[in-house]
Symmetry: D2
Subunit: 391 residues, 4 copies
């Protein structure tokens, strides 16, 4: 098929050319004497992305799921109680993982489309006088529904309750794209994956861990080896790894971290907000609604768009792929068919996001959704013109 | 700048990923015993692209200008009369080249925006009873004005006049993109460049020459060495070259020829027509006009769009580049400022061409041209939806 | 530093150009409707590499260590007894992993440099009348000592003992390089990594599992999620994955599997044997000895070379890297300093392996080892000339 | 065929990975407003490579032959007398080109293997009282015979004769590899190609021209257009080109110029000398002779090795390619069969050059030349060890 594919799923995201070139580098010896000169600054710069000074970064071959597993396996024990809200497929999968590892998950069920329920979290923490809850699981950005929740508020709730539970954040589809502040928000464990805001192929789980969470590993009884923090700590300090690291992805990560820092994290966040808002202007012009129930939860990395009743979001996605070489995200689990998703994170600019809107319009019309072609595009164009800062 | 650049100049065009990968191949020995097994089939397949069986293909390191020079230097002599129409910057430059080589160019001046004047060509040929005109120069697609002319009609005019002049065609921005038939149209010499329909970087002049034109080289008195057909004929027959060929570009050419033949030339032409028509629907919706004066001349590889008086096409282009990472073509020479150009040839699909339209709309509005955002896009979307053949 | 690095560690290995180009492919949607058309044939072809028809292939983001963890976590329970020999760092690390997961490892300690002790394995199996041993762990190729052991003999020993234990094989540095026959040898679980014979960057654990081993997962009580076979089985059958797969590495794996099958597995094995033998000829010419104690154990993928007493293998490696841009393998654990290693697996040919020998000679002389320059090279050249099959 | 090809022809040379990555960059608009910010510093840095401050650099799509043609066509007229020595295929081809362009070439025939005959040049210049000789053609490094001649001595001879002829230097296989000083040596026109010391694919002719030679173009009567200096001068000053430049090769050239300047030209020259000397040590150990007749002419970029009588250099080359994936250079024209050539220029290091020697030994033995395997390698290893400056 001529021309390129337009990739607007919420990860993997488009890999910038500069990063793609790094993926084709020759292999290297991970035990070479100059390898630490590459690796130690990379660890240091990753801390800047997570906005932590006291935390420690771990990079595993894996994916976000591997990052979750590492976070649980290194710090908790079977029977430990954790508190988690379930409001989308990824928060649900995290809970499922905890349960498979024998944790006792106190689940707060929330309507899909709503954000993390800070007040309910607070209530249960307050009720937990015995401090049996060891950890609070918090999904920063629920990729299934396009909902961003308020980590800072969660921290305030923990503090208000004077509860010592660790705060674990799923930042897979938020970190490196939207505002995230590990130290300021008192996050103890944050999980990211390479294939989202880091603009890499899938293959790395990147985890940042506070000293408090690190201390918890002494008592943690879950078995671990591949994801063991101790082995990493022992070797990472010298710039090496306990087993063969994914050096090619690490070289590519060096490039993507450089790209992020060269643009500046604030600028990266502002760009994501602006492109996301353009998508939302288009949605409004179409007369459609987001799955996210309130503006406070609108995600700047992914929009889940409700299709009118009688239509299927899956059809929109299939049509866009087949007819326009456009990859959109389907609705998952509870919202399957009800929504389709536009991922708008990573290496994107104005015309790229407009492509997603243009193609969505055509695919929606193809399946019979009565929107006017050009209407959403025009609204997005107007917003992007007005907010373009180039002279 | 995040995201990729949108390249819509009428060459160089977007290089498909598969071709880009070939550009990074390791170097090779151009005298290796198996080199001919690569080169001879490539020559054979290039003949398919030019639609010639009896002609011979020459590939020089160079550009379209080099191809013109090769065509003149190998077949003509100082003082030879050639007949040419001038109706855009590229037809003009070809004439200039001929004059520098001492040819006597009989120039037909035509309004820019019109096509090659077949009747005037015919009249001058008819008047040339002595057959002093050795060659007719014919610009198939004038890139400066977005005008395609009728090569078959030119051949009919030559035949009607029973004139033996050679027919030279500038196919730089037409061959491999729109219909071109060397043998059927009796073309004696056709010039193409790598960076247009062949979807490669600049660096190759590709010339196809009829046996009649090859015979003319015996009497041709212009000096030549780098571009000498004889040296090429002597070595190409065995799959080699008289001097180091640009093997990397040849490997990439192998890929692009494969892409063209896999898609099928008719499909390639149909795709170019459809994407060009989408651009024209947008232009009509904007209430603007093409530089091309009549539909019969509308080019399927490039559209030169007249900006309303009081505005500058150059401003549109500069704005698109600075604010939206979009590269459009400026107006050249006589039409500088009066038009801007969208190149729509090469490795393109629906959403790619819509990006050019979307970005053009925004840039036009930015410079004050009173078009309604989304209007042109909507017209193009409608046409592309209706004509999409995927189920 | 001009020129390229010469990589002769026993993994990561040199990635062929064709595979490197695949690593730079654009990202794709792992849920695209045509993704299974890519993935299902890849699973089928991987079975050819493992030489299994009834087994099932699993591909995890990870490394060999992850593959080991997957094999243990899916099929065994804390307290289960497994039988394993320890004769090098990698067999040792596998045992350590088992112990961390609460298994009761019956360890056979063997001199480093010797192969897996089939008779002792047999004796312990025979003694295990109650069949408490659930699995036999067998390191096919111990990368630390350059020792290959006899899997077929191990199977015969199991059969002779009529013992139902599962046979687990660490094939990380053997599979895809030297002869391995899952079905014929009755292997129940074989672990490979992407960065060895598969000629890819590190990042994939590739595991092949017999139906018998798969059945064992019902009773297996170890926690698992990221490495869970069940989730993979449920989605892989349709060509999908339970979480985002490392698609870029999978695309590259497609290329490397094609390369292996195009060359033919027997030819791949023969090539590895021939290049390894060339290294051994050089070692003999130097008057040095392999760590591998007997010819029956000589590995065709890696040679651990004993340096004369008074010298350090680590110095040879450091010198080769610093002065000649040559990466060799250091001695690990018990043989640290005593050996250095030449990895000779993956995408290699005659002149490549001769480079490793040439550079080794120079580095050995640099640290004072009294070998004659050119002597080992000459012996290897002679062997390679004689055994070259090209006309 | 597994493993990579070993390329040791005297051009194209091995392209460094960093440069290869640049070749895969996306296309760009050569008229973009920021293009000059890329191009103007590149012109400036190219002057550093040619060691000229007052000269002007021209970069044409083409090859060395194109560079020669540009140099002649822009500065001379039919009938002009030029003085040239003929002592190898490339000096001969340059003379042939001049003759095709109607120049009157005063040819000094010299035994192949000897260098440019300064005294004979001097004698003819002295005899030319009327200063009819407009230009002296001087082949700095004759690639066919591996002979480097003394440009500085040629300048002294011109000065001693007080002769105003322009000094043209063929530096195709010398510039960017061995010492070349345009200003200091009073060179008026120097020609280089991209595929030698510049470590790029073939496709660029790079020409440096003194103000004196530039002035000569006013009177020059040869036709020119593609290679016209005037068109280049008019547009290059602003960072643009008169026709579409080979931007991809220019981006790659930026990388290779950076590599050269980062290493430092003196270090580049010293490296070439050292690797060339290693080859010569091997040749001496084999008991063979160079085609170059005296040490003063030994080329540091290519060695032409005389095979003993009764053997054919072409057989050595064919055997090396077929059996060892090694590309060597055949003997050309007068020395066809009598020599084979090892190109040792560009991106090379110790183990790379040793590969060429190792493979040469095997191929020579294969065709029956009685050399001892390992002998030449050992001599080269010894020299490279002793002269290695790494600690």
């Amino acid at each position: 098929m001529p021309g390129h594919n337009f990739l607007f799923i919420p990860g993997p995201t488009n890999v910038p050319d500069r990063v793609r070139r790094a993926l084709a580098l020759p292999q290297e010896d991970q035990r070479a004497p100059d390898f630490p000169q590459f690796m130690l600054p990379l660890f240091a710069d990753l801390k800047k992305i997570f906005r932590t000074e006291s935390g420690q970064i771990f990079v595993f071959p894996g994916s976000g799921t591997g990052g979750w597993e590492a976070s649980i396996a290194n710090t908790l024990s079977p029977g430990d109680r954790v508190l988690a809200a379930r409001f989308g497929m990824f928060s649900q999968k995290w809970i499922d993982l905890c349960q498979r590892f024998g944790l006792d998950v106190d689940i707060i069920d929330v309507e899909w489309g709503e954000g993390a329920p800070i007040e309910e979290y607070a209530a249960r923490l307050a009720a937990d006088k015995a401090h049996k809850i060891k950890a609070v699981l918090f999904c920063h950005n629920e990729t299934a529904t396009g909902v961003t929740s308020d980590v800072a508020a969660m921290r305030r709730a923990l503090d208000a309750a004077r509860h010592p539970a660790l705060l674990y954040v799923d930042g897979v589809s938020s970190i490196a794209s939207i505002d995230f502040r590990m130290d300021e928000w008192g996050v103890d464990l944050a999980v990211a994956g390479s294939q989202k805001g880091f603009m890499l192929p899938t293959g790395l789980a990147i985890v940042s861990v506070s000293q408090k969470a690190l201390a918890a590993r002494k008592a943690a009884k879950l078995s671990r080896c591949f994801f063991d923090f101790d082995d990493m700590i022992a070797t990472n300090k010298d710039g090496f790894f306990p087993y063969t690291p994914a050096t090619t992805l690490l070289r590519a990560l060096r490039e993507s971290v450089d790209l992020l820092l060269e643009e500046g994290l604030e600028n990266v966040h502002a760009r994501h907000h602006r492109l996301a808002e353009a998508v939302r202007r288009a949605i409004a012009a179409w007369g459609l609604k987001l799955c996210a129930a309130k503006p406070q939860w609108y995600s700047d990395t992914v929009s889940a768009i409700c299709v009118p009743s009688g239509f299927s979001g899956a059809d929109v996605v299939a049509t866009a792929y087949r007819r326009y070489n456009l990859s959109l995200g389907v609705g998952l689990a509870k919202v399957a068919g009800k929504v389709y998703r536009i991922g708008h994170l990573g290496d994107l600019n104005e015309l790229m996001i407009l492509s997603a809107i243009t193609g969505s319009e055509m695919a929606m019309r193809d399946v019979g959704i009565p929107i006017e072609l050009g209407r959403g595009v025009g609204a997005a164009q107007a917003y992007l013109r007005e907010t373009n800062k180039a002279q």
